[in-house]
């Protein structure tokens, strides 16, 4: 039976998130230029202002061995899987691949695309600060963005005006606000949408033309606002950690032996992607972009406040805990990732101190569903005080 209303919109989002190459081909058929990017520390607005649709390279979770001949096995499965997307040729329609100097593992995935997947002449590696809280970092970023803008202008053979940039900033900010409104539903006791559904929409937003995405988001939010909450209140779970585009894993978290609800996901594939805004109406658009991107929830790889060594992300995590009131926390990270688990070591005592039980899940290309289910149910039992 054909789904209608909210379900149809959510299904469309999920289909796009899980079939990105198909979406890229459809853009090509419409005569649109598209650029793949490998890290959220890429100012998509510059590409969008030049008429290019930026799309994040996501993974397919297929078991494969091809990339072992290109990247060392001790790089995370997410980077291997992203490299695989290039090698298997599903993204040949892209006009550009771009990344910033961020996570080293994703840098390796980018290198594979450039050297071995046919993107040698259509790639851009952006210099981007590894510590984003400093004053010099802002100026450095703005200069990097200027160089990137010039590259994009050369690629598209058109100049990118301040008006183009302002328009792109507004479209992107609008998208961020809509996504935020969507996530706010999860604060309710009976939200009209589930955590996995919100995760799917957020993931889709990273691979879509933002105007099209905004249109669909507006329709979805309108419908959700008119609906009463439907999900029974369950144990409220918050996820925090690294990149995870495995929607099946989020489905699993809400399909345990107990009623559970994902109420927040702090990761670069979820809230960290959009939980910031770029100042509008500024004279210098590139400086505005730099200011906006400095304000992002920091990736653990870039999170060191000079002078104290403080991890700024922890402030956000504590604020999210206060606002979304989780009963339990799931630390999620890719196997072989260095910065994420390093943060867990310091974050776990904070969560413990708040009296919130937690567990850790280490991700690989495919996930051990049964083991994860047992682990998650054990967490819920701890929260609920179930005695064996």
């Amino acid at each position: 039976m054909e789904k209608k209303g909210r379900d149809a919109i959510i299904e469309r989002f999920r289909h796009i998130a899980e079939n990105t190459p198909e979406y890229v081909r459809s853009l090509k058929e419409k005569g649109r230029l598209s650029a793949g990017y490998m890290c959220t520390h890429v100012p998509e607005e510059i590409l969008y202002a030049a008429g290019i649709v930026p799309l994040r390279i996501l993974t397919s979770h297929e078991s494969q061995a091809m990339t072992r001949g290109y990247i060392h096995e001790t790089y995370c499965s997410f980077s291997h899987d992203c490299a695989y997307q290039g090698l298997k040729g599903d993204y040949d329609h892209l006009d550009l691949i771009v990344t910033s100097s961020s996570c080293i593992h994703m840098g390796e995935a980018f290198n594979v695309w450039v050297r071995f997947a046919g993107f040698q002449d259509k790639s851009y590696l952006m210099q981007y600060p590894h510590i984003i809280h400093t004053k010099p970092a802002g100026g450095f970023m703005a200069e990097s963005f200027k160089q990137f803008k010039e590259f994009v202008e050369k690629l598209t053979k058109r100049s990118v005006t301040d008006n183009d940039l302002e328009e792109a900033i507004k479209v992107y900010n609008h998208n961020r606000r809509l996504l935020k409104r969507l996530w706010e539903f999860l604060r309710h006791d009976r939200p009209p949408i589930t955590g996995p559904e919100v995760a799917a929409v957020t993931l889709a937003s990273q691979v879509m033309d933002k105007k099209e995405c905004n249109g669909m988001l507006e329709q979805l939010i309108e419908r959700l606002e008119a609906e009463p909450g439907q999900a029974a209140p369950g144990v409220r779970l918050m996820v925090t950690g690294g990149a995870c585009d495995d929607l099946g894993l989020f489905d699993l978290m809400e399909h345990l032996r107990y009623d559970t609800s994902i109420i927040f996901i702090d990761s670069c594939t979820a809230a960290r992607y959009f939980w910031f805004e770029v100042p509008e109406g500024r004279h210098d658009k590139l400086e505005a972009l730099a200011e906006g991107y400095i304000g992002k929830i920091p990736c653990p790889a870039k999170d060191t406040v000079p002078g104290t060594g403080e991890k700024k992300r922890f402030r956000f995590v504590q604020q999210f805990i206060e606002d979304f009131k989780p009963d339990g926390v799931i630390f999620l990270y890719q196997r072989f990732c260095s910065p994420q688990p390093m943060d867990v070591v310091a974050l776990k005592p904070i969560v413990d101190k708040l009296g919130i039980p937690s567990t850790e899940l280490e991700l690989d290309t495919t996930v051990p569903k049964a083991q994860f289910q047992t682990q998650l149910e054990a967490l819920v039992e701890i929260i609920k005080g179930v005695t064996p």
Binding site: T74, N111, Q127, P306, G309, V345
Partner: protein, 438 residues
């Protein structure tokens, strides 16, 4: 007959004295951070600065008291650090957890000496996180990390040089604030010149291995560079490397070598592992194969000309150039320091695959290599793992090339029998290649 390096005693004493001072000096300022930090700014705070660097300390401790260090690594893992995290980091943090520290004269001191400040860099994704963890475990230590954005041609890119210089300049202000000490530009400039001089001198010493026979082998290179990594800002460190350069030049003039039987010359990419696993070195030594050049021993604390006319070269920089540098203002001194540290070869491949390949191509050609040995370090986030698998793909048709995994200090991660078999195969490949067969 194998030559014995006479400067060795000076090197060993210098290294040990630095560590003993950090452990036992009654006063002064204890400073901690990555090897890859520009050290001269610390020396502007006085002449009683005792430094300890994460990587060199972990490496030398593992080589000196391996059983103790295995306990450190396990303590860090028990404390929550991941099995796949950097093993230098884990060893270092493990000492903090166990509240004891071991140094190169085999002293094991109970009670970890708390640093007054952490002055470090951030390069790989966990570089400064290392010291965040140390600081957290010690209840909070003032910490300043410099973003060493690099890769490729960074030292010649004014945008990057200014960015790093701005951070160092702000860092000096911070150092004054947190230590309450006045900063002496006179001491700073002197330390800058020494720091640059040592880096250039070490580059000159390494470059002498272009000769045949190469005067130094990998194990001696590893043993001789500690002063340059531990504290390269002092007059004594300059004196040691001037003396060593003179001695190695003399060896070349007389055709002498610490390992004179050199049928095969090998270029090596990876962190040192032959001192931890002498079995590996022995396989090579027995057939007259020597590692004559490696990015680790050359580039961790040595500078070369780098990219000239679009191509990388391992040609050395004239030491006299250092004496001519204009360091007349604080900013000028900071800028020269930024350039030299951004030019370290070991940084180039962290963020730039093409630089890594260029360096390998140049090293193979300039050091007349018979084989390329790639040994990615399983837990290293920098270019001691990045790009190596792809490099094998690129070089295998040009020169005998093998790859096996190692780890910087965690012996559990090395597949020794497998690596030995590959090394034997490597020797056969080089033999066949020389005969025109492979």
């Amino acid at each position: 007959m194998a030559y014995n390096i006479t400067t060795w005693g000076d090197v060993k004493n210098y290294q040990t004295n630095c560590y003993r001072n950090y452990l036992f000096a009654p006063g002064g300022l204890r400073c901690m951070g990555s090897t890859w930090s520009p050290l001269a700014p610390l020396k502007g705070l006085g002449d009683d600065i005792h430094v300890i660097g994460g990587e060199p300390h972990s490496a030398s401790a593992a080589g000196t008291v391996p059983a103790e260090c295995r306990e450190d690594i396990i303590a860090a893992e028990t404390g929550g650090l991941g099995f796949h995290s950097c093993s230098y980091l884990k060893l270092f943090v493990g000492e903090v957890i166990r509240d004891k520290i071991a140094i190169t004269d085999k002293t094991i001191k109970d009670g970890y000496p708390r640093p007054d400040v952490i002055w470090t860099t951030h390069l790989c994704s966990q570089h400064s996180k290392w010291y965040q963890e140390v600081s957290r475990r010690l209840g909070g230590v003032p910490m300043y990390a410099i973003d060493m954005i690099g890769g490729g041609n960074a030292e010649k890119d004014p945008k990057i040089v200014n960015y790093v210089s701005d951070q160092i300049e702000a860092g000096i202000e911070w150092l004054q604030r947190v230590t309450g000490r006045e900063f002496s530009d006179e001491l700073f400039v002197k330390a800058v010149r020494n720091e640059i001089k040592v880096l250039v001198l070490w580059g000159n010493i390494c470059a002498l291995n272009m000769h045949s026979p190469a005067p130094l082998d990998e194990r001696r290179l590893i043993a001789l560079f500690p002063p340059a990594v531990v504290d390269r800002t002092t007059d004594e460190s300059v004196r040691i490397y001037e003396k060593l350069l003179k001695e190695v030049k003399h060896m070349v003039e007389n055709g002498e070598s610490v390992a004179p039987d050199q049928r095969f010359r090998i270029v090596y990419f990876g962190i040192a592992h032959t001192y931890g696993h002498p079995e590996m070195a022995r396989i090579l030594r027995d057939v007259g194969a020597e590692i004559v050049a490696s990015v680790y021993t050359f580039g961790t604390c040595g500078n070369f000309k780098g990219i000239v006319n679009g191509k990388w070269t391992w040609e050395p920089i004239d030491p006299a150039w250092v004496d001519e540098l204009d360091l007349s203002t604080r900013r000028k001194a900071i800028t020269e320091l930024s350039k030299i540290v951004l030019g370290w070869p070991t940084w180039q491949g962290v963020r730039s695959y093409w630089a890594l390949e260029e360096m390998a191509k140049a090293m193979v050609a300039e050091y007349k290599a018979d084989g390329l040995l790639l040994a990615p370090s399983r837990s290293c986030e920098t270019d001691f793992r990045n790009g190596y698998i792809a490099m094998q793909r690129i070089f295998k048709n040009q020169i005998p090339t093998i790859e096996y995994d190692t780890d910087q200090v965690d012996v559990r991660k090395m597949d020794l029998p497998g690596a030995q078999r590959k090394t034997e195969l490597f020797v056969h490949l080089m033999e066949a290649h020389k005969k025109g067969g492979a």
